[in-house]
Structures are given as C-alpha cells and as structure tokens.
C-alpha cells in the first residue's frame, strides 16, 4: 500500500519503527499534492522546502532518541486561519495577503512540538465565514467526490485535502459547523471539541465565543489521536478549560455502544432534508440499536431557533473582531498616497480587502449591537443561547448522546447557493446548536445518498467535556459499517 493511503496511526508506526522516514512520508504527500492540487485547490500555501526541512528535523530528533508524540513524523495540513511562523497566514482574505505571523498558534506549536510536519495551509471561506469555501478570496476548493461540488465550509480546504489523500490529517475550526459539515460532505471524520477544550490562541477570530479548533481525519482513531495531540488547557487563552482532556483515543479504540442511551433529535428531519440523507441516517440509528444501544426520540424544540440566534451572535462578534484589520500595523493598505487621512485609508482598505460575505456579516453585526437594537437582537439571541444550553442539559439527563444528520443535504454544486445566503446558512441547521451550547459533536461517514451517490454524515453530540462519547459512538458506527461495506467508505477519491 502506498504511503498516502495509510492511516495516520499506521504512518506513525512505520516512522517510529524505522520502516519509513518522515521525509519519505512528507515527499509522498507533496507529490500527491503536486498531482491533484490543480483540480482540487485545497491549499493556499505550499512550500516543499519548508516542509522537507521540518521532516528532516523530525527524523533527526527521532534518531537522536528524542521522545516525540504518538504522531511524530506524520504530515498535517493546517487551515489557513492558524498562525504559522514559517508560512504565511491569510484567513483566505485579500486583507491579509502575504502576512507572515511572528508567532505560532497554540495548536500549531503543540503539533510542531509533537513532531507533526506541516504540508501547507488550506483554503477556507474568508475568515471562516461560509459553508462552501466559495467565499475564499483565492478561488473555491473542489470536492474530491465530484469536482463540480463544494467540499463544505468553512474548513473546505482541510476536508478536501484529507479526502483527496493529500494529507492524512488536517486541522479546522468549527464556529457553526465548519468542521462537521465539510467532513460530512467529503466522507471523512470531523470533530468539534468542547468549547475551551482546544486553544484559540493564534486562531484568527471570527466569533470568539463559538470558534473551536478541531481535527479532520479519514477514520475515527486518527481524529482522536490528533484531537489529543493539540488539546488541553492553554494559559494564553482565558476561555480554555483547565481540566484533563477527555480520553478520546481510548474511547475510539473501545468502539462499543452497548448499554449507551442514544437520543434522536426529533426536530432534525422531515421537510427540507434530502431523502437519501434521511435514509442513511435512519439506517445508522438502526445499526446503533443493533449494536446494543438504547435509542429514544428526544425533543429539543428550541433548536430550530438556533440558526437565527447564531446569525446575530456570530456577526456581532465578528464585527468587532475584524475591526483590527485597519491597514495601520499589517496587511493590505489602500489609498495611502499622502493626501488621505488615516480614516479614509482604513475605509478604502476595508472596502477593497474584505469580500461580500464578510462585509455582509460585519454590517449585520454592527446593526445588531447598535444602541436601541442591542436588546432586541444581540440580547435576545443570548437568551435563546441560554435556552438551547438548558435543552441540551435536559436531554443529557435522559441520554448519553444525541444524534442527527450532520447536514440536511449532500454536497451541493458550486455556485448553486452563492447568491442565496439563506439557503447557504441552512447547511448548518443541525450543527449550530452545539456551537451555541459549547458542547462536543462529531461527524462520521454513514454511507452514500441513493440519489447522487455522495457521502452522508452522522452527527453525534455529547455534553460539555463528553468528547470521548462522540468518539466511542463514532468508532462503533465506523467499525460496523466498514465490516458491512468490506472497507472504508472512502477507498479512493472518486473524482481524482
């Protein structure tokens, strides 16, 4: 089997056993990237020399007997929203074109220290705002299952890179579903950890109270290994939780749901859901029952109000978070010809540097926070958020996890929803409640929809710091389906 088809765990074992070097593994993936990137466009920045230098350094450290992490030598792609010392970081925006950060994000730094080798920086919707990666200032990323379709978003470059076998692992961020939805529509695993379980330091902020770094992989165990490698308390992020990381790797290996209580969210299904998605979802629920889980229906009536609340809270925070892009200290500067005031240069730069979706959200948020509107919009949305958290808490009194389809539909064609923000926003209908409540959720593949042959994701939601339950259920589903299918769902990127 070629190196690019190995799992991260297998690659780590080969490198640790001296059967392959980090350099060989990195080269295999770099070669794959050179081959398929013209079609996929998953990466914004690739620097072969920087990557190979990192790989050589890891090989030397291993040869010197240094004990690195369990993923030492395994290559990874980082969403281009995490700062990296040796590669530019742009958040897929013109306003940060070519920006070289003077510091590593905590996620980047921890993985670097654990011996992972950075293959490059992946594409995203500008500042993580979108569900299709069409909002990138540097062109859309394509879905390796069907190049005319979206790879999900905002972490679409990270999902596509893994689905296209360009990288065994990647990082993403999930603010309203930006890891789980791309994972679902590309047939891979994506996890949104508990908010505060993974550090936001060095993650370019979209919505601070929602943004959560998380892992992508082609199987549940790999995702858990990556999750464990970058998680845990970070003194540089005040909102990071000072508690042990849930035993996610152990849970992924356990892969056992017997005796677990599983709740099906009643509100996620029916009108607006693609029949093929619902069919695969229902089969997955039946499968869990056959594996010994006790399945019940749970009603969470306020979950349908999550989407509008999210589209007040996230834009409000973004309108403030993105104020720093003002041409004064870094990034794009437009109109500084010696005659214009600082204020004019700021305005011209922001007009030229931000794309339409970013501007739309900044305007929405500015309005929602304005004096006289605050109580009706931002204040009200925060109340909804509290109600949703309470519904989750009540539900988790009855069941260990909740399940739903990750997305209402499979990957849609590029361009189909580009001019219809509301249709685009609906892609995150099932994922947003988890972000508002700050708990954990995973998306694992559960088959292909009959009508279009595209992947469907099963979402497993767990309480705050119950991340291990997501992996336990996800791994059980994966194991049972793979034995039914005779192997993984994604054996080869079909369109490549």
């Amino acid at each position: 089997m070629s190196l690019i088809h190995r799992t991260a765990a297998e690659l780590a074992a080969l490198i640790a056993g001296g059967e392959a070097s980090a350099v060989e593994v990195a080269e295999a993936h770099l070669d794959r990237m050179a081959e398929v990137e013209p079609k996929v466009n998953a990466f914004l920045h690739v620097d072969r020399e920087v990557t190979l230098a990192q790989a050589r350094s890891v090989d030397e450290r291993l040869r010197a007997g240094e004990r690195l992490g369990p993923l030492a030598g395994v290559p990874i792609a980082h969403k281009d929203i995490f700062t990296t010392l040796d590669m530019p970081t742009t958040a897929a925006s013109r306003i940060l074109e070519g920006w070289r950060p003077p510091y590593d994000a905590t996620v980047t730094r921890r993985l670097r220290e654990a011996g992972l080798v950075i293959l490059g920086k992946t594409n995203l919707d500008e500042f993580a705002m979108g569900s299709s990666t069409e909002n990138s200032a540097y062109g859309p990323t394509r879905n390796p299952w069907d190049l005319d379709r979206i790879p999900g978003g905002s972490s679409g470059g990270s999902s596509a890179a893994v689905a296209a076998y360009e990288a065994p692992l990647s990082t993403g961020t999930d603010t309203g579903g930006s890891i789980r939805q791309p994972a679902a529509v590309t047939g891979i695993v994506g996890m949104k950890p508990t908010y505060g379980g993974s550090s936001r330091y060095g993650l370019i902020a979209f919505a601070s109270s929602l943004d959560t770094p998380g892992p992508f992989a082609r199987n549940v165990l790999d995702a858990a290994l990556l999750h464990e490698a970058f998680s845990g308390h970070d003194p540089l992020d005040s909102t990071s939780i000072d508690a042990p990381v849930p035993s996610v790797v152990e849970a992924a290996r356990q892969a056992d749901v017997s005796g677990m209580r599983i709740g099906v969210v009643k509100e996620f299904g029916g009108d607006g859901y693609q029949p093929g998605v619902l069919a695969r979802f229902n089969e997955a629920v039946a499968l869990l029952e056959s594996l010994g889980a006790k399945v019940v229906e749970v009603s969470c009536p306020s979950f349908v109000t999550a989407l509008p609340a999210y589209y007040l809270i996230a834009p409000s925070e973004c309108s403030s978070n993105l104020a720093r892009f003002d041409a004064m200290r870094y990034g794009l500067r437009v109109g500084d010809d010696g005659t214009r005031s600082a204020e004019e240069v700021m305005a011209l730069t922001r007009a030229a540097g931000f794309g339409p979706e970013v501007k739309r959200r900044i305007m929405l948020g500015t309005y929602a926070l304005s004096s006289g509107y605050y109580d009706a919009y931002y204040g009200q949305a925060q109340k909804v958020r509290t109600v949703i958290s309470r519904e989750f808490e009540a539900a988790f009194q009855q069941v260990d996890v909740l399940v739903s389809p990750t997305t209402p539909t499979t990957a849609f064609p590029i361009g189909e929803r580009a001019d219809d923000p509301m249709a685009m926003y609906l892609a995150d209908l099932c994922t947003i409640p988890t972000n508002l409540a700050g708990n954990a959720a995973i998306s694992v593949p559960c088959g292909l929809a009959d009508e279009d042959g595209l992947p469907v994701g099963l979402q497993v939601m767990a309480p705050v710091l119950g991340d291990d339950r997501c992996y336990r259920v996800g791994a059980a589903v994966e194991k049972a389906l793979e034995s039914r299918w005779g192997g993984p769902l994604l054996k080869e990127a079909p369109a490549l």
């Binding site: 929203i81 995490f82 700062t83 970081t89 958040a91 940060l96 920006w99 950060p101 003077p102 510091y103 994000a105 936001r200 330091y201 060095g202 993650l203 370019i204 902020a205 919505a207 601070s208 109270s209 003194p235 540089l236 992020d237 005040s238 909102t239 409000s316 925070e317 309108s319 403030s320 104020a323 720093r324 892009f325 003002d326 004064m328 200290r329 870094y330 600082a342 204020e343 700021m346 500015t366 926070l369 304005s370 004096s371 605050y374 931002y378």
Partner: protein, 504 residues
C-alpha cells in the same frame, strides 16, 4: 470645527450670583503593575517607542488577552479605599470605535458591570467637609499614544502626519467616576481640585500608581453644567479634557463656569461636547460634539471569562488596606501638635509625606517641618519644582537636624549644607567635609579667635567689662565673621564674657 478661544466670559462673582454649578469628575489612573493589562509586556513608562509590544497588545490576528490578576486586585483595593461595594460577578466589555492608536479598534473596558460601585470620599475644602459620591470604579486598558506632526494645534486636524507609540497600549487603567456633585457653589473649582488631590494621595498610599499628572498616569476629565439660581433642573454639561495638573483642574472648572454663564445669560444654549483645556490661556476650546457622538456598541468581551472575586479575599484586602491619607493627616496633626492652619499649609505644599519620612528618619517633627516648609519650600519655589522633586531625601534632612542638635552645625551652616546637597555635592556629611563647614569646637582655636577679636575691638571689650553686656553682641558677630560662620555663637559668647570677667 474649532472655535478661536476668544470666548466671551462672565466675571466669576457675577456668574455665581446667577447660576449654580454642578460638577462631575472622571479620573483615569494608570496602574503601576509590572506588566500590561492583557499581556506580559512591561508596563513601564519611558522606553523607546514601540519596544514594549507583543502580538496581543499590537492586536495581531489570532492573539488573545489574559487579564492581569494584580490589576484586578489593585482596582478592588481602590474601590475599597473609596468605600465602594465590590461586584460579586462582573465582566469586561468591548467598547468599539476606530482610532489609529487603538490596536484592536475596540477597547477592553467595563460597561454596565463595573468591578466597584456606589462609594464616596470626604474631602476638606475651606475648613468644611464635602462628601463626593463615587458612581463607579472600573478597569480598562489604555490606548497607544498618537503624536500629530505638523499643523499648528498639535491635534489630529490639520496635522501633516501622525506617529503612534504602542508602548502605552494595554497599560491597565482604572476609571473613577463621581456622581454629579451639586451644592459646591462658589467653591466648585476648589472642590474639584481637592477631590483630585485626595484621590492622588489615596492612590499613592495604596501604592497602586505613581499618579504623575504630567506623565499622564493620572488624567482627569472635568464635567461642568450650570443651572439658574432657584432652578432644580440641571443644565447641559460639557466634558473638558487635557487637564494635566491640579491647578488646571481648578482653572478649567472656573473657566467653564465663566464661559457657560456668559452663553446662558446671553440667551444661548450649551452644546453637549468635549472641550480641550489650554494650559497657556487657562481657557477651553471646543472638541468633538457629543451630539454627533459615536455608538460604542458595547457587548460583553467574549475572549475573557467573568471576574468573580471571592468575598473572603475581598474582606482580606479590605482588612489589609493602609491607613488612608485623611485619617493619617488627623493622626499626624495630633502627634505633631499642629494647628489646622499649619497642617493645611503642609498639605497644600505636599509636604506631609516628606515631613513624616524625615521624622521617621529620626528628626524632631518641629525641625523636619521647619526645613521642609521653610528653606526647602523656598528653594523649590525658586526653581519651580515640587518639594518631592528636590534632589534631597528625608533621611538627609534628618541627618542635618542631627548635626545641628549635636552642635556640629548651626542654622547658617546647615543651610549651606543643604545647598551643597541640592547642588549634588554628596551627602550632608560629605558636604560638611568638602566645604569645611564644621562648627569650631576646638577650644584652643576658638580661644585664639576670641583673643584676636577682643584685641581688634578694644572699645567694645571695655564697654562689656564696664557692665554693658549688650555690647557683647558685636564681639560675637566679630567671632562669627572671623570664623566664617563656623563658630558656635553661644559658646563664643560665653568665652568672651569669661575672658572679660563678667557674667550675665
């Protein structure tokens, strides 16, 4: 929109006969913590521009704030010293507006949940106690510092370009806001000054800030409105900024009262606006109008967790507060046996702490007070500096008083020693040594001088011998002159009388 500064004013007495002022004061105090409010950069003043900066205080993409625990503690101590209630739970909030010296284009501050609220302090003005109620004390971060180059005003309008120093960005800043202060009547300027003075002393006694107005570590915004006598409805207020000394606080209030009175008496209306105080003219000019003010879009800061001070810890902080300046003044006045007037004079001269330290270093209170309020006050006044800024320490003054008490120096020599210390010639002992200022204690040397003086002034000596003891004064003067002031006058007199065979 700038006015010329040639504002019409009404004479103060007339203004006060027709209107009653209402004051409000917003004071910003930069805390003297080692590091900034939300990052680990040094908070020290005076470093080369843009050297105390990092991803967080430059607002680089992805950087996050972490609140400085020491700053929170200092703010709670300030609140306790101002008799405030301390919030059991409160949050930081973002105040959103664009300005080039504010890296994030929002300031992390507090909005409707201040850390401390509902306090008061009592101040003394004109022998009368005035209670100033405190609305709130909250914690925020300072902005960077813009310098506007070119143009006549030094302000952003009309400047050719501006430069920004971000060293100050993120330094912890405590804002102390009073409730409106009515009823001060014609003492309004003095009340404002006394309040800021008292605040400054409280900060100093808490050790939370160096409170230097000239360096901007204590900044004051003065709100003034007028209402016609007999009315109970408050007028429109203005907020005067750039008030950079205690004297300016007083002048700014006075100037605004005179300006607003002239406008109101002429049938005009006061524009709610920010005004700038000008040190040189003692007047204010219009800044930006609050009527076109920005909407700051405050919302709770999502990058930080709420502050929930443990009540037991707050109680410990309260118990450990130092003696507050007003209490200390009363105690010292009793200990030193001073009149209200003497104590007030020392307070006004900012001499109390210096005298106290000098006493602590061993000097008798009367002597310590005499030097600081006399010779040293005169010299400080001559060189236009504050007493505390004179290059001499309380310990050095104490040493000088000790040398006088032991008879090594007399007052005249002591003044010369002080002069030498102030001129940088070293410690009092070094100055005595280098300038050769020690009193002539050698009996033989003094005896020789006396003999010479008696020989040179035979007439005077005869007069003394014949019983006109008053004439001895001239002989003592002669000895002092001959010894270039280094003789002990009392000893010299005794020796003269002894040698002339008379006794008093």
């Amino acid at each position: 929109m700038t006015d010329t500064g040639t504002t019409t004013k009404m004479a103060y007495d007339e203004a006060l006969s027709r209107f009653e002022p209402v004051l409000g004061l917003e004071t910003h105090v930069e805390l003297g913590t080692a590091s900034k409010m939300f990052c680990g950069c040094p908070a020290a003043f005076g470093a080369p521009p843009n050297t105390h900066v990092c991803p967080t205080c430059l607002a680089l993409p992805g950087a996050l704030p972490v609140a400085n625990a020491q700053a929170i503690e200092s703010t709670i101590r300030i609140g306790l010293a101002l008799n405030c209630s301390i919030a059991e739970w409160c949050r930081f909030a973002r105040k959103n507006y664009f300005y080039p010296d504010m890296p994030k284009n929002y300031q992390i501050s507090q909005y409707d949940e201040p850390l401390c609220f509902d306090g008061y302090i009592d101040i003394e003005v004109d022998g009368k106690s005035v209670r100033i109620e405190i609305e709130r004390v909250h914690l925020e971060e300072d902005t960077g510092k813009s310098t506007h180059m070119g143009g006549a005003t030094g302000r952003i309008h009309g400047a050719d370009y501006s430069i920004v120093d971000y060293n100050r960005a993120g330094i912890p800043l405590v804002e102390i806001v009073t409730k409106p202060i009515p009823g001060t009547d014609r003492l309004a300027p003095e009340v404002a000054k006394a309040y800021v003075t008292e605040l400054r002393e409280i900060m100093r006694s808490l050790g939370v800030s160096d409170v230097r107005m000239e360096e901007g570590s204590l900044r004051c915004d003065v709100n003034v409105s007028l209402m016609p006598r007999g009315s109970s409805e408050w007028g429109t207020r203005t907020e005067t900024k750039n008030v950079n000394s205690l004297r300016s606080v007083e002048r700014a209030v006075r100037s605004e009262i005179e300006r607003q009175a002239a406008i109101l008496a002429g049938g005009g209306r006061i524009v709610q606006e920010t005004r700038h105080f000008h040190e040189d003219t003692g007047t204010t000019t219009s800044g930006r109008s609050k009527e076109e003010a920005q909407d700051y879009r405050y919302f709770p800061e999502p990058d930080l967790v709420p502050i929930a001070p443990d009540p037991a810890w707050v109680a410990e902080l309260k118990a450990a507060l130092p003696e507050l300046p007003s209490v200390k003044r009363k105690r010292l006045q009793a200990e030193w046996g001073l009149s209200d007037l003497d104590m007030a004079a020392m307070h006004n001269a900012d001499a109390i702490d210096l005298v106290e330290a000098t006493v602590a270093a061993g000097a008798p209170p009367a002597d310590a007070r005499k030097w600081w309020m006399g010779e040293l006050a005169r010299r400080a006044n001559e060189s236009g500096v504050a007493l505390a800024e004179l290059p001499i320490t309380p310990a050095q003054i104490a040493r000088v008083t000790e040398l006088v008490a032991s008879g090594s120096l007399n007052d005249k020599l002591a003044r010369e020693v002080l002069e030498g210390v102030l001129a940088g010639e070293g410690s009092p002992d070094e100055v005595v040594e280098r300038r050769g200022l020690k009193i002539v204690n050698d009996e033989g040397e003094l005896s020789a001088i006396v003999d010479q003086v008696l020989a040179d002034n035979a007439d005077a000596a005869d007069k003394v011998r014949s019983g006109k003891i008053a004439a001895a004064g001239a002989l003592v003067g002669g000895v002092m002159k001959a010894s270039r002031g280094k003789a002990d006058a009392a000893r010299a007199r005794a020796m003269i009388l002894e040698k002339l065979g008379v006794s008093e």
